[in-house]
């Protein structure tokens, strides 16, 4: 099972940005969602998730607001800023370029 720190540098950022692009989510939900969507392949550890969230917040890609969670407790919901949305597009682009490049190498005859 691939651990997030085995992921290509910066991929976690892409995953987080993508996950909250539809609606605001709190940290727990982000981790769960990534796990779910990836069919349990990608497990995001708390030790990476929260530092990454706080870094993205400091960099201005995402913002947070406190709100009531589904269980009725106060939770911190992260959502994309306009700049974050643009950043997500850029990261997607570069991810596509990277993965197709890797594909080319891996699938090549030589």
């Amino acid at each position: 099972m691939a651990k997030p720190n085995d992921l290509v540098q910066g991929t976690l950022d892409l995953l987080i940005l993508k996950t909250i692009s539809l609606e605001p989510k709190h940290g727990w939900a982000i981790a769960k969602r990534i796990q779910q969507i990836s069919n349990e392949v990608l497990q995001v550890q708390q030790g990476s998730l929260y530092p990454a969230l706080h870094r993205l917040e400091q960099q201005g890609w995402i913002r947070a607001k406190w709100g009531e969670s589904e269980t009725g407790r106060e939770a911190k919901f992260y959502f994309l800023t306009a700049a974050g949305r643009a950043q997500l597009e850029r990261e997607k682009e570069s991810w596509k370029r990277l993965s197709s490049a890797i594909d080319l190498v891996v699938e090549s005859a030589g």
Binding site: Q45, G47, Y50, P51, H54, G60, W61, R63, R73
Partner: protein, 889 residues
């Protein structure tokens, strides 16, 4: 456009940091609760669910810190935490903190203060227009190098006029010469003697100076015989004329001649020195009927460089012209060459070395202070070794630990620096006002650069004092420390070694400072006690000057001199009285070049130069200057019967070796008409200036009464009691003869000497104070190291005692241990001191860089201090009770 968001986060993190931290806890807790809830849903019981969640979650503190590490201002937060931590540690030992802060305050304060002065005096440009273009041009005699005098010789007016007229390398050249006169009001009221200067009409324009009131000299006012005009200095304008600008256009009397005030100089204009009270045109009192002389050296020439022409090229042109003048006046004292140097160098030439020496001394002091604090910190870090090791074992990074320790020294240096900066403020002010003879004292001020310097000094000191202890405290292998039995017998050898190295350097620096101070102090004492060549006890001197306008006939001058002598000789308490132009120690007082008709063309012009003095028949016996052969002047040798001179031993030895100069002649060649005088006596040498070598001197009879040559005189009195008690009676006698004569100071000979050596006195006292301070610091350092070593080895001493060691053996053990770094420091320091002595050689008088007595005294006092500092710990070691020591931890 993400910067508004970033800015918002920054502000949030800065101002609501505590809130953010608790929010982060909440956020992480929420995550944990979600995990617990999920576990419960999966069928675990609550306790199990919780511990499983925690296991998955990992170390919450670490997680929190990792998340926080991305917050802005994080390093600031850490620094703040370290700062609080450092402050707490310092507060726990207030004695240490106080000592360290005081030491640093003294070091940083002294360094900042001296830096301010050095920078203002040596580096700040002169307050004139385009000061970099200004140079001073001097004459240069090729013989001067052989005679060991300064190569820069003052310029004769004739040379200056030729230079200005016939060369074009400089934009312009201006000249000034020292002057002095009796200033009085229109009705001869309030006569006072004022130092003055005579400057060429273009001097102010060349320097770019505008008078505060009125106008500068006009070219036609700077000609012999022109209308008399005067410019007042700001201080005279304020002091004597109450700052009332209506003085411009009015008349004052200088030497009883009316002069019209045409202007007042600005307040900041204190060139060449602050004591100059007024300015007259350069050619004032030049004779109308004679061309300006080429052999009367008295002027200073300021020149402004032309853009694109180097000083060297311009001076070369002047030099070539000077050589032609020299050839034209062969046999007269006219120099062969011209030399120039930048004006700023000229202004500070006398003070540069003393200032740099002082700056070196305070730098030494600062280094010693840093080493001392460093030493104290090492001692403290040793006590906390285990704590540091445990923290390291628990995952504290080395960087964090080093930073924490550094913060402590930074805190000490910051506190010390703040105090020191305040100290520097007052110290600089005090130095600037009390240092007599410090040029450009008015340029001294504390500014941003000084503040920057002192901040840099603080950081540098903190680094120096903190880095060594911090690195050594955290670097050791953790296990070794933790395994160290609490009952370690040997103590930590490496730690003690480090402290010994620090101590050795401290001692070495102290030796350099002590020996340097010792050399300067000895020079100063030699200066002060140098044998003037005459009796100095109970001697009172009083200068006076007879204005040539009133005293214009030899008979009148003679009559005044004689009546004054008769009157003061009758005063009770006066043992003897005499007259001389300049008293011993009273300064150069003018020289002249002579020839000896008995042996034509002997020696170069510069060599055939002697000091010019006039004296009355009673002068030599009054000051008890020994008569070596021949006789004194007689009362009959006066007015026209004047062609007799008395020479000093130096002159006799120099020009008449192995024979008697009596009956031989010397011819004065500085006047237009040569006059030949017969030598009638040889007297002992006197010093004209303490610190200067003895110079050949010729005494002419003051009773010749020739105005100009004899109208300036110094009355010398030998008294039976306190000479100063005669000041008022003597003043009354002078006023009774002529109430319009200016007041002058009544000085004893020692007062004259101390006035002349005031600047040396000042700098020597300072260096000595720094040296004593550093000696104290070294003693503190030694005491600290030794106390520590002894306390470390208490158990060992107890065992030794129990095994039968004698108390004196323990004492010796400790002392030897203490004195080893002292000995190494002494050896290194002595070498450094010799090097430093070579550097300050030019300041030494009557001693040399390797003066055994100075070395002996200074090293002796250092060893004594070291012994004193180590006695207390050593005694503690040998008084120990073995049982107690073995039980001690």
């Amino acid at each position: 456009m993400r910067w508004p968001q970033q800015l918002r986060m920054k502000a949030l993190m800065l101002f609501r940091r505590r809130n953010a931290a608790s929010r982060l806890d909440q956020e992480l807790d929420f995550h944990l609760q979600q995990q617990v809830a999920e576990n419960v849903v999966a069928g675990m019981d609550p306790a199990e669910a919780r511990s499983a969640a925690l296991r998955l979650f990992g170390n919450p503190t670490l997680l929190r810190e990792e998340a926080q590490s991305f917050w802005s201002w994080n390093s600031l937060g850490k620094a703040w935490r370290d700062l609080r931590y450092g402050a707490r540690t310092l507060r726990r030992s207030p004695g240490f903190a106080l000592l360290a802060v005081t030491v640093m305050a003294l070091g940083i304060g002294a360094t900042t203060s001296l830096f301010t002065i050095v920078r203002s005096v040596l580096l700040t440009p002169l307050p004139f227009a385009e000061p970099n273009q200004l140079v001073m041009v001097y004459e240069h005699f090729r013989d001067q190098a052989n005679l060991g005098t300064s190569p820069y010789n003052v310029v004769a007016p004739g040379d200056f006029y030729d230079w200005r007229e016939k060369t074009n390398g400089f934009q312009d050249m201006a000249a000034w010469r020292p002057w002095g006169c009796t200033l009085a009001g229109n009705h001869a009221e309030m006569p006072e003697s004022v130092p003055a200067a005579a400057g060429s009409w273009n001097l102010l324009a060349l320097l770019g100076v505008q008078p505060a009131y009125g106008r500068p000299f006009a070219p036609e006012e700077d000609r012999p015989g022109a209308k008399n005009v005067v410019l007042l200095s700001w201080s005279l304008f304020q002091r004597r004329f109450g700052g009332n600008p209506s003085i411009v256009g009015q008349e004052v009397h200088l030497d009883t001649i009316p002069f019209t005030v045409i202007g007042v100089l600005p307040r900041w204009f204190t060139y060449p020195r602050a004591t100059v009270q007024l300015w007259v045109p350069y050619s004032a009192n030049f004779p109308v009927d004679k061309a300006p002389p080429h052999d009367m050296h008295e002027s200073y020439v300021v020149a402004r460089l032309k853009p694109g022409v180097t000083a060297q090229a311009a001076t070369q042109q002047v030099s070539a012209l000077q050589y032609r003048i020299h050839m034209e006046y062969q046999g007269r004292p006219v120099a062969e060459d011209a030399l120039s140097r930048p004006m700023i160098e000229d202004v500070v030439s006398d003070i540069k070395t003393p200032l740099l020496v002082l700056f070196g001394a305070v730098t030494c002091l600062l280094l010693i202070a840093c080493l001392n604090v460093s030493n104290l910190l090492v001692a403290r870090s040793t006590a906390r070794r285990k704590e540091v090791a445990i923290r390291g074992a628990l995952g504290g990074s080395r960087l964090t630990l080093v930073r924490e320790q550094m913060m402590e020294s930074l805190l000490i240096c910051l506190l010390g620096g703040t105090l020191g900066f305040m100290l520097a403020f007052s110290a600089t002010h005090w130095l600037a006002t009390h240092w007599r003879g410090l040029p450009r004292a008015d340029a001294i001020h504390v500014d941003g650069v000084v503040l920057g310097f002192s901040i840099a000094t603080v950081l540098f000191s903190a680094l120096l004092a903190g880095l060594v202890p911090a690195i050594s405290a955290t670097g050791t292998a953790l296990l070794a420390v933790l395994q160290d039995s609490s009952r370690a017998i040997g103590g930590s050898a490496s730690r003690a070694g480090l402290r010994k190295i620090l101590l050795t350097s401290e001692i070495a620096l102290t030796v350099v400072l002590l020996v340097g101070a010792g050399l300067l102090f000895k020079s100063f004492v030699q200066l002060r006690t140098s044998d003037l060549g005459c009796s100095t006890e109970n001697v009172l001197t009083r200068r006076y000057f007879l204005p040539e306008k009133q005293y214009n006939k030899p008979e009148m001058v003679l009559a005044f001199h004689q009546s004054l002598l008769e009157r003061v000789r009758r005063l009770p308490g006066v043992l003897a009285a005499g007259l001389v132009s300049v008293a011993p120690g009273g300064g150069y007082g003018g020289d002249f070049v002579f020839t000896i008709p008995e042996r034509p063309s002997e020696g170069s012009v510069v060599e055939r130069d002697a000091l010019y003095r006039t004296a009355d028949p009673g002068y030599f016996s009054a000051l008890q200057i020994p008569l070596l052969s021949g006789r004194y002047f007689t009362e009959q040798e006066r007015l026209d019967r004047k062609l007799f001179v008395i020479v000093s031993k130096k002159l006799a030895d120099q020009f008449f070796p192995g024979e008697s100069p009596l009956g031989k002649h010397i011819t004065r060649s500085f006047a237009d008409k040569p006059e030949t005088y017969e030598i009638i006596g040889v007297v002992g040498d006197t010093l004209h200036d303490v610190g200067d070598p003895i110079k050949a001197t010729v005494y002419f009879p003051i009773f010749s009464g020739i105005p100009d040559r004899t109208s300036s005189a110094t009355l010398v009195l030998r008294t039976s009691g306190d000479p100063l008690s005669l000041s008022i009676p003597v003043q009354k006698q002078i006023a009774a003869l002529d109430p319009t004569l200016a007041m002058h100071d009544m000085l004893t000979l020692p007062q004259i000497v101390s006035k002349a050596t005031a600047s040396q006195s000042f700098s020597t006292t300072l260096v000595l104070a720094f040296a004593i301070l550093s000696l104290l610091l070294a003693a503190v350092g030694l005491y600290g190291v030794l106390s520590y070593l002894v306390s470390q080895r208490m158990t060992e001493f107890g065992i030794r005692m129990a095994l039968g060691a004698q108390r004196w053996e323990l004492l010796r053990l400790v002392l030897v241990d203490a004195l080893r770094p002292v000995a190494t420091g002494l050896a290194l320091g002595s070498a450094g001191a010799i090097a430093a002595g070579m550097l300050i050689k030019s300041l030494l008088y009557g001693t040399h860089p390797v003066d055994p007595s100075v070395f002996a005294v200074m090293i002796g006092s250092l060893i004594l201090t070291a012994l004193l500092a180590s006695t207390a710990p050593a005694l503690r070691a040998c008084r120990i009770e073995p049982t107690q020591a073995l039980r001690m931890e």
